[in-house]
Symmetry: C2
Subunit: 348 residues, 2 copies
């Protein structure tokens, strides 16, 4: 049984979408049990529609919900201990849940997760990892917005954590890792990226294979299993890709409705278009994973529909089932044991 704590009030639509999303995930994975955190009055009407879900869940009525607009510091001040967001995270800390999922505001969720769960030993700053659809399947890209301006050692930590996540998610033994960089040779700056490359080469880690630098266009190609970058450029890459996909979908829609022949063609090719739409549907790949904390927290897109919420829950399910945090801890321990000489009488 995988126990998932779910913030029912998160996202642009709250329980109206989060509850049907949970029902979808449960349909596909009957070994999920839920711990719900919500505002009772608002949730009850939707829960009533899913009796099977209601049976497989425990509901906790909370004092308040964090809004999508609140600043992290404000959310933390107002919502600590009492909000649906905080309490869903806390359930992971107390051991009442294996993973927490929320579609609430990213900054607040990260602030609360850091405050409540704290970072793992040897990890200075957490990262948000995104699952990126590629021509070869999927890659992991981190950090997409938790830390701005990581140094070489932090990029190294991201590589270790991303590698562990790839092993948990894709079931490959030695995922390939690339550092996101610009193609122009001999450019000034971004010394941290070059230095991280040196660290990765020299560390020669069993659990991952360092493939060198990759560029923005390698993301969609799926050149490597894990792409490592600091949060500013990672966030910009993620949102640029989402924006470009929407833009092209819009061009396509316009092209297909412009002439009668095109509309007829659309009807003939409808199943192909449905397949394409599925590929382009961001809700099919949803769920940013917070890495580096003492507990797994999944962030769903705020604008996700029920299918998107289900996808985020399923990412959490996979991560918990495959022992993501145990894998990360082991990898970090191995790396740091190699790196630091033993301290104490034996070392003398």
């Amino acid at each position: 049984m995988i126990r998932i704590s779910l913030d029912l009030m998160g996202g642009d639509f709250g329980p109206q979408v989060v509850i049907p999303g949970a029902a979808k995930a449960l349909d596909r994975h009957p070994d999920i049990s839920f711990v719900f955190y919500g505002l009772k009055e608002q949730c009850d009407p939707f829960l009533a529609k899913f009796p099977k879900l209601k049976e497989k869940s425990v509901f906790h009525d909370c004092e308040l919900a964090v809004s999508m607009e609140e600043k992290p510091s404000q959310a933390l001040r107002r919502g600590r201990y009492v909000s649906t967001m905080w309490r869903s995270i806390e359930a992971v800390k107390t051991g009442d849940a294996d993973v927490a999922v929320s579609a609430g505001n990213t900054g607040a969720l990260m602030a609360m997760a850091k405050f409540c769960l704290r970072t793992m030993a040897n990890i200075e700053r957490p990262a948000i990892a995104a699952i990126w659809p590629t021509l070869k399947g999927e890659s992991i890209v981190l950090d997409v917005g938790a830390t701005i301006g990581a140094d070489a050692q932090q990029l190294m930590d991201f590589a270790l954590m991303g590698g562990a996540m790839a092993r948990a998610l894709f079931e490959i033994e030695r995922p390939t890792i690339g550092l996101l960089n610009v193609g122009v040779e001999e450019v000034k700056g971004q010394e941290e990226v070059k230095e991280a490359g040196r660290l990765l080469r020299e560390a020669n880690i069993d659990s991952l294979e360092y493939s060198g630098f990759v560029e923005g266009n390698d993301l969609g190609k799926g050149t490597v299993d894990v792409v490592v970058t600091e949060g500013f450029s990672g966030n910009i890459a993620l949102k640029t890709a989402e924006g470009t996909a929407k833009q092209i979908a819009e061009y396509l829609r316009a092209a297909m409705s412009r002439t009668l022949l095109a509309r007829i063609g659309y009807l003939f090719a409808k199943s192909a278009f449905d397949m394409l739409r599925e590929k382009l549907d961001p809700s099919k790949v949803n769920g940013g994973v917070f890495l580096g904390l003492n507990g797994i927290v999944i962030k769903s897109h705020g604008g996700a529909n029920a299918e998107g919420i289900a996808a985020a829950i399923e990412v959490g399910y996979d991560m918990a089932k495959n022992g993501l945090n145990q894998k990360i801890e082991n990898d970090l321990k191995k790396y740091h044991a190699k790196r630091l000489p033993p301290i104490g009488p034996e070392a003398a």
Copy 2:
């Protein structure tokens, strides 16, 4: 007459593609005259095919061509004064051409352009501006790779230069400017971006309208006319968008060829698909503009076909015709005059 100096040896295909590209541009703009720099033996067979082009151009035989793989420092050492790339830039300096165009390697072209033309007064570092196709038309995005890690004042300079380019290219009086940032509030780091925002608000510049921060997904929407960022994230955004467009084109191709019905649909909708392909064709929007130098240099994609080369030439044509560098100089002068109190007896 707009005089364009063209490096015939640049790009993955050299004269075989650059010369037909020049012919296309000339067809569409009979008021172009060309100054060509190439290796005679390699260029003659292709030039012979375009008698009208040959008539409207002067050919200079050069000693050598810079390769696509050469490091900037190496290219500069070997190719200064004598290469086709250097000499096409130098023609702008000497006044023999209004603008230089090359599809050669970006790092080498930037290094030579900086060395030969030098930066404008008040500009510390040049930028590369890309023309970005959007749902509303086109935007300008800079810097896409010349400077890594710009400070607030450099971002301010980019805004002024991008604004001048928007006025030259789109013929709007007061283009809107956004600073590329991540959406999460209260994030640490990227103080330069916040500081640049403050500078832009306070400067209250006549020639541009500051619209605040934009995110990666605003690029494709066309939220503002000019998006300003430093070169690392700009380069990653550009290549991520290109990669995503290719990825979706590949999905589309696969979806349309999968079933017989889809293939029939494709035939019916072919003209719509052609329109879509046109929208997605990177060669239709080609030509990175080097800004901040005492002369205009246009960088074409190395992999551009003849249509792409023509597009880059036409960007140069537009920039020269609309007096881009004059506009930039005027805007910089106005800004710095407001900014610095007069020095001398009057100020006392």
